[in-house]
Symmetry: C2
Subunit: 362 residues, 2 copies
Amino acid sequence: MQRRAFLASSAALGASLLAGCKREEKSTLHISRGRKIHIKLATSWPANFPIMGEGVEEFAKRVAEATNNEVQIKVFAKNLLVPALGVFDACSAGQIDAFHSGPYYWKGKNAAFSLFGGFPFGFTSTEMNAWMMYGGGLDIWRKLYAKYNLYPLLGGNTGVQMGGWFRKEIKSFSDLKGLKMRIPGLGGEVMAKLGINPVLLPAGEIYTALDRGTIDATEWVGPALDIKMGFYKVAKYYYSGFHEPGSVLELTFNKKFWDFLPQDIQTIIISLANEMNAKMIYNFQDKNAKALQQLKKFGVELKEWPQEIVEAAKKALMTVIQEQSNKSQDFKEVWQQIEPYWMQNRAWTSLGTKNYLEMRDG
Amino acid sequence: MQRRAFLASSAALGASLLAGCKREEKSTLHISRGRKIHIKLATSWPANFPIMGEGVEEFAKRVAEATNNEVQIKVFAKNLLVPALGVFDACSAGQIDAFHSGPYYWKGKNAAFSLFGGFPFGFTSTEMNAWMMYGGGLDIWRKLYAKYNLYPLLGGNTGVQMGGWFRKEIKSFSDLKGLKMRIPGLGGEVMAKLGINPVLLPAGEIYTALDRGTIDATEWVGPALDIKMGFYKVAKYYYSGFHEPGSVLELTFNKKFWDFLPQDIQTIIISLANEMNAKMIYNFQDKNAKALQQLKKFGVELKEWPQEIVEAAKKALMTVIQEQSNKSQDFKEVWQQIEPYWMQNRAWTSLGTKNYLEMRDG
């Protein structure tokens, strides 16, 4: 491939620079200058997608700044190079060098991948990042992705997502029966056990389906992105969420390409991805808070789930986890690593953050 | 100063490299090679201080990796170059290039600085970072620090701190009267209005004072750091906190030194500081969760504040804010910028995170 040929020749150029310019560093390839590294990065998001898409664009710009343009990341919105959900396979095969997406999209490849994206009643964004960086999460994720010639970095987190938009108020467990709701992933599987009929729909078709009553409800992300979808115009009840409490976005590289990158560039990319990972959370916080004010002006009714539904959903989660563990050894192993960490971190978050928020805003 | 002379000469060297090596980039100073930039960074922490001190050491190591050792940050623990709380003045005067500390320490310089560190019932770490990065916080902080020839970056956050260790249980408002408690900052001023007698003590003297009953209570940080202080051995009641919900740590540079740094190095330092800023939160989460399990084994009693105390503290906060605003125009201006953002973000955090945590762990 042309890119690799270029890298090889720029390494040679680096060696000649070294000879001619009396550099004081010892190493060879990774300090060579005149390097030009081009990275083709495809996303699962449309062009100019707020927060997530903007975050990747900013990341690419900062990598160029940090390397004096030695590293040029070209970001392709969905369908420009590959379809939105084709990025995993395309990157695995080396057709693109990297992608920005979410690990829950790949549960068809390996059921365990959904757990790296988050799970109902699961980690908050802070807990998820703690597990990834200090609890062994990244290690086991990288081990499993390596089988697909992929190397994942953390690339963002939505924070707590809202439970979704409903055309009718949900007052009791029986109101869920037979309801058609657009909700993917483990959340969809949990809701199915409560009698909901989960539906998958392309993003562009959800609004019309909700407007016409083809579906009764939909979840999306949170105030900032939901308001742009216009759901508030056709469904009045907006529920707090338990199904995606801190969904992970990934910046994943083709592993052979990654391994070939000089160490300084790897450090820069990891650090700037960690920066993007955190800033996306803060940007969601900022934009969600602003959009919520707007939604209130539009007369949206903010609702909490009846307690019986919350309790039923918790039980349903444990059934779903058991079913998935029976079907997939990888899922079972990842869950066994997650569960004690989850219990331990819930205890601290509850004592610290939950008690605090109840004092402040209760 | 020698460092600056070196930078200048390495810029000249860079120009000759450019001429001799046919570099394709256009710019001059900031792409020169053979640069060596040495940064003297002093902290307010003792050597090998967990999480905060370790975080700065890791940051320095990663900056060296990202720059192929062009940038060498030497980290000095407290008292090695300057006293723990002398770093602000030393950096302002150019005796050191940078420091890692907390902005609430400098409220004697300018009352407004305490607000950049956080305030009782204030921003969580996520809200604080959102305000800093997307709500104008960093801009106003930098404007005020510029008067001292300083340029602050975000350098970490403790997350929600615990309310502190008490030798006796606090059952009602009257139990606070005359209690001697080690508690600094705005939290101390709020508690003073509730009848507590706030005491300042050096870290090394707190344990003995608490053991002997010279003080009745102390706050520190959270489980991970508190357990190392041994407070659980001499005070059994451990209260959830509202006084420091997300205290900011700063990585602050001498502004003249900062402005002199090449742009690529500035980008690397900012991004790696943002990485440190976030990782410290996740590291606190991880270590606090683990330490809490230990504390439970030691028989510590976890307590929540009586509602009447929480309500009185909220009223006291507004009085303190008013008093400070009357005394300091800067405080008043920063608070006027904070207040609407605080209200807006509380609404979203309450709807999203609080409701979620109550469903999960309530």
